[in-house]
C-alpha cells in the first residue's frame, strides 16, 4: 500500500438554499485519526458542511468520500459516522445505558456484546456508575459525555461534533475541552469538531480549517494559522491583529510603505502585488519610551490590565494600534495611560496577506 488514503475527502462541495450559497466549493481531506476543527463565525456554513458530511443535507454540487467509498448519495444511516449534536439530542425516554446501547441494538448485536459495548463506552467517559439514570437527572457536563459515549459506542469511522460545548459555562467548557482532546487521543477516532471559538480551536486541534462565507480560507495547524494567516479574514478572526494597508515601495517588493502610519518598513517576504495588508500581532509590537528621532510614535489612550499581561491601545494620528506586554508579579506595568511611546516591531514577525476581496 502506498500513502494512506484520507478518511474523509470532500471535493468541491456546494450547498445552495434557493439563491443563497451556504457552502461554496469546499475541498477538504481529513487524515485518519486527526482532530480537525472547522472554525468560523456564526452563519459561515460550518453546520451545513457538517450536515452534508453526515448525510442530513443533500449536496448541491461536489462529492464526499468516507473511508475511501463514495458517500455523496448515501443516507445517514449507512455512513457509519458518529454525531454529537449542538443540543446533544439524547433520547429523553431512555436511560443513560439505553441511550448508549441504541446504536448497538440497531445493529442487532448479541446481548452480551451490547452490554460489553455500553460498559466500555461509559467507562471511556467515566460514567459507568450512571448507567441506569434518566437523562434528565444528569448535569450539563454529564449529558455531554453520554452523547459522546453514545456516538463512540458504534465504533464510527469519523466523529462529527457540532459546537458540543457551546451551551456550557466557561469553566466547565475549558475542562471538557481538555477531556475531549485526551479522549480523542485515547480512542484514536478521527474527530471533526465545529466551533466559532478560536481559543477552543487553537487549543484542541491537530489542524484547523478556518471558514468564512461558505469557503475554507485556510487549512493548517494552530501554529500555522496563528503565525501566518493566509488571508485578511484569518488574520482578523484568529487572535488579535493590527492590520495596515501596505504598498510596494520598490521594484523588488522588499520595501513597503504604510501610508496610514506614514512610514516605510521591510516586507517579511517579497511582495509581488502592488497592495496588500500587513498584520502585526499585539504581542510582537515593541514599545519604548519617547523620544526617539524619526521613529513611529503614539500616545497610550487606554491600558487594560489582565493579570499576566497589559494591553495598550495607542493612537498614532488618526490610526489605532494595540500592543500587549507581559506583566510580572511585583512589578508595575511598564507604561500607563497618557504616556508617549515609540512603536516598533520585528519585520520578520509581521505577515503580508492579500487585501480583502470586498
Amino acid at each position: 500500500m502506498g500513502e494512506e488514503k484520507p478518511i474523509l475527502e470532500v471535493s468541491g462541495v456546494t450547498k445552495a438554499y434557493g439563491a443563497a450559497l451556504a457552502v461554496r466549493g469546499v475541498d477538504l481531506a481529513v487524515r485518519r485519526g486527526e482532530f480537525l476543527t472547522l472554525l468560523g463565525p456564526s452563519g459561515c456554513g460550518k453546520t451545513t458542511l457538517l450536515r452534508m458530511i453526515a448525510g442530513f443535507e443533500t449536496v448541491t454540487g461536489g462529492s464526499i468520500r468516507i473511508a475511501d467509498r463514495d458517500a455523496t448519495r448515501l443516507p445517514p444511516y449507512r455512513r457509519n459516522l458518529g454525531m454529537v449534536f449542538q443540543n446533544l439530542a439524547l433520547f429523553p425516554h431512555l436511560t443513560v445505558g439505553e441511550n448508549v446501547a441504541f446504536g448497538l441494538k440497531v445493529k442487532r448485536a448479541p446481548q452480551s456484546e451490547i452490554e460489553q459495548g455500553v460498559r466500555r463506552a461509559l467507562e471511556l467517559v467515566e460514567l459507568g456508575h450512571l448507567k441506569d439514570r434518566a437523562v434528565h437527572q444528569l448535569s450539563g457536563g454529564q449529558r455531554q459525555r453520554v452523547a459522546l459515549a453514545r456516538a463512540l459506542a458504534i465504533g464510527p469511522s469519523l466523529l462529527l461534533l457540532d459546537e458540543p460545548l457551546g451551551a456550557l459555562d466557561l469553566k466547565l467548557r475549558r475542562q471538557l475541552q481538555i477531556e475531549l482532546k485526551q479522549l480523542q487521543r485515547r480512542v484514536g477516532t478521527t474527530f471533526i469538531f465545529v466551533t466559532h471559538d478560536q481559543e477552543e480551536a487553537l487549543g484542541m486541534s491537530d489542524r484547523i480549517a478556518v471558514m468564512n462565507q461558505g469557503r475554507i480560507e485556510q487549512l493548517g495547524t494552530a501554529k500555522e494559522i496563528y503565525d501566518t494567516p493566509a488571508t485578511a479574514f484569518v488574520a482578523r478572526f484568529v487572535g488579535d491583529n493590527n492590520l495596515f494597508e501596505a504598498q510596494r515601495n520598490d521594484g523588488a517588493g522588499r520595501a513597503i510603505r504604510l501610508p496610514r502610519l506614514g512610514i516605510v518598513r521591510t516586507a517579511p517576504r517579497a511582495m509581488p502585488e502592488a497592495q496588500a495588508l500587513l498584520a502585526v500581532r499585539p504581542e510582537n509590537i515593541v514599545l519604548r519610551r519617547a523620544p526617539a528621532d524619526g521613529a513611529l510614535s503614539g500616545d497610550i489612550v487606554e491600558d487594560t490590565y489582565s493579570g499576566a499581561s497589559v494591553r495598550y491601545s495607542i493612537a498614532v494620528g488618526t490610526e489605532h494600534l494595540v500592543a500587549t506586554m507581559p506583566c510580572r508579579v511585583g512589578e508595575a506595568p511598564p507604561f500607563a495611560k497618557g504616556d508617549r511611546v515609540v512603536i516598533d516591531w520585528d519585520d520578520a514577525r509581521s505577515v503580508l496577506t492579500p487585501m480583502d476581496q470586498t
Binding site: Y77, F85, A89, L90, F91, F102, G103, V106, I154
Partner: protein, 266 residues
C-alpha cells in the same frame, strides 16, 4: 374588605357546588326504588342498574356504543396523526386551509353537521348504518385528536430522529423506537378523548341512526320520549362514570396539558 373576600369565596364555592349539581341529582335518582324519576328518592335500591344490565335492548346499545367508540378512537387517531404529521413536518400549498378544515367541526352547530352528513350518507347509500355513524363520529372527533397530537409533535426535537439515524437506524426503526414513543402522550390523549366524545355523542348521531343501529345515548333519548323511569338515570350515571374514569386515567398517566395547551410558536 373582609366581607368582600368572604362573599367572593362563597360565590366560587357556589359555582363549584352547582356546576355538577344536575349530575349529582341524576346519580342520586338512579338509586331510586320507585317506578318514576323523583328527587330525592324515598327508597334506595340498585333495581334500575339491574334493569339496564339485563335488558337486551340496552345491552345491545351498550355493545354498539362500545365497538363504535373503540373503532372511532382508532380511526380518528390514525387520521389525525397523518394530518398532524403533514401540517407540522411538510410544506405544501393549502396547508392553512387543511388545518382550518380539520378544526371546522368545532365551528358549526351540531344540528347543521347532522343535516349535512345525512346528505353525504344518503349519497353513499349508508342511511341508518353503523358506518354512517362511525364516519360522523370520526369527523366530530378529529379536532380533539388533532390538537394533542400536533402539540406533541411540535414539542419533539427533530434532532432526536437524526441522532437515531446517525446511529445506523433506518427510517422505520427510527419511527418505531424514537418518534412513536415520544408522541405517545399525544396519541393516548387523542385515543381517549375520541372514545369519550363518540361514546357520549347524541345530536349528530340522532340524524343518522336507523331501526337497526342505535347507540346508548340515542337509545336513552328515545326512551325518555316515552317514559320517565329511573333506568335512564342509571344509564346516565354509567356514562358519567366511564367519562370520569377515562379522564382521570388520562390525567394520571399523560396529563391534560397537551389538550389544553395553547398554540406554541416553533
Amino acid at each position: 374588605m373582609i366581607l368582600g373576600r368572604a362573599l367572593w369565596r362563597l360565590w366560587i364555592f357556589l359555582i363549584f357546588a352547582f356546576l355538577p349539581a344536575p349530575i349529582l341529582v341524576v346519580i342520586v335518582s338512579s338509586f331510586s326504588r320507585s317506578g318514576y324519576l323523583r328527587f330525592p328518592p324515598t327508597e334506595f335500591s340498585l333495581r334500575w342498574y339491574g334493569e339496564f344490565l339485563s335488558s337486551p335492548i340496552w345491552l345491545k346499545a351498550l355493545g354498539t356504543s362500545t365497538v363504535l367508540a373503540v373503532g372511532v378512537a382508532l380511526a380518528t387517531t390514525a387520521v389525525a396523526f397523518l394530518a398532524a404529521f403533514a401540517t407540522s413536518r411538510l410544506r405544501f400549498p393549502g396547508k392553512g386551509s387543511l388545518e382550518l378544515l380539520l378544526l371546522s367541526p368545532l365551528l358549526f352547530p351540531h344540528a347543521a353537521i347532522g343535516v349535512a352528513l345525512l346528505g353525504v350518507v344518503a349519497a353513499l347509500g349508508w342511511i341508518g348504518t353503523f358506518q354512517a355513524v362511525a364516519l360522523a363520529h370520526v369527523i366530530l372527533c378529529i379536532p380533539f385528536a388533532y390538537r394533542p397530537i400536533l402539540n406533541s409533535m411540535r414539542k419533539m426535537d427533530l434532532a432526536l430522529e437524526e441522532a437515531a439515524m446517525s446511529l445506523g437506524a433506518e427510517p422505520a426503526y427510527v419511527f418505531r423506537h424514537v418518534t412513536l414513543p415520544l408522541l405517545r402522550p399525544g396519541l393516548v390523549t387523542a385515543l381517549l378523548f375520541s372514545f369519550i366524545i363518540s361514546f357520549d355523542e347524541v345530536t349528530v348521531t340522532l340524524f343518522l341512526i336507523g331501526p337497526s343501529v342505535s347507540t346508548l345515548p340515542t337509545q336513552v333519548f328515545a326512551h325518555i320520549l316515552e317514559s320517565a323511569d329511573p333506568v335512564i338515570a342509571a344509564i346516565s350515571s354509567f356514562l358519567v362514570l366511564v367519562t370520569v374514569v377515562l379522564v382521570a386515567l388520562l390525567d394520571r398517566f399523560v396529563g391534560l396539558e397537551l389538550f389544553v395547551e395553547a398554540e406554541r410558536s416553533r
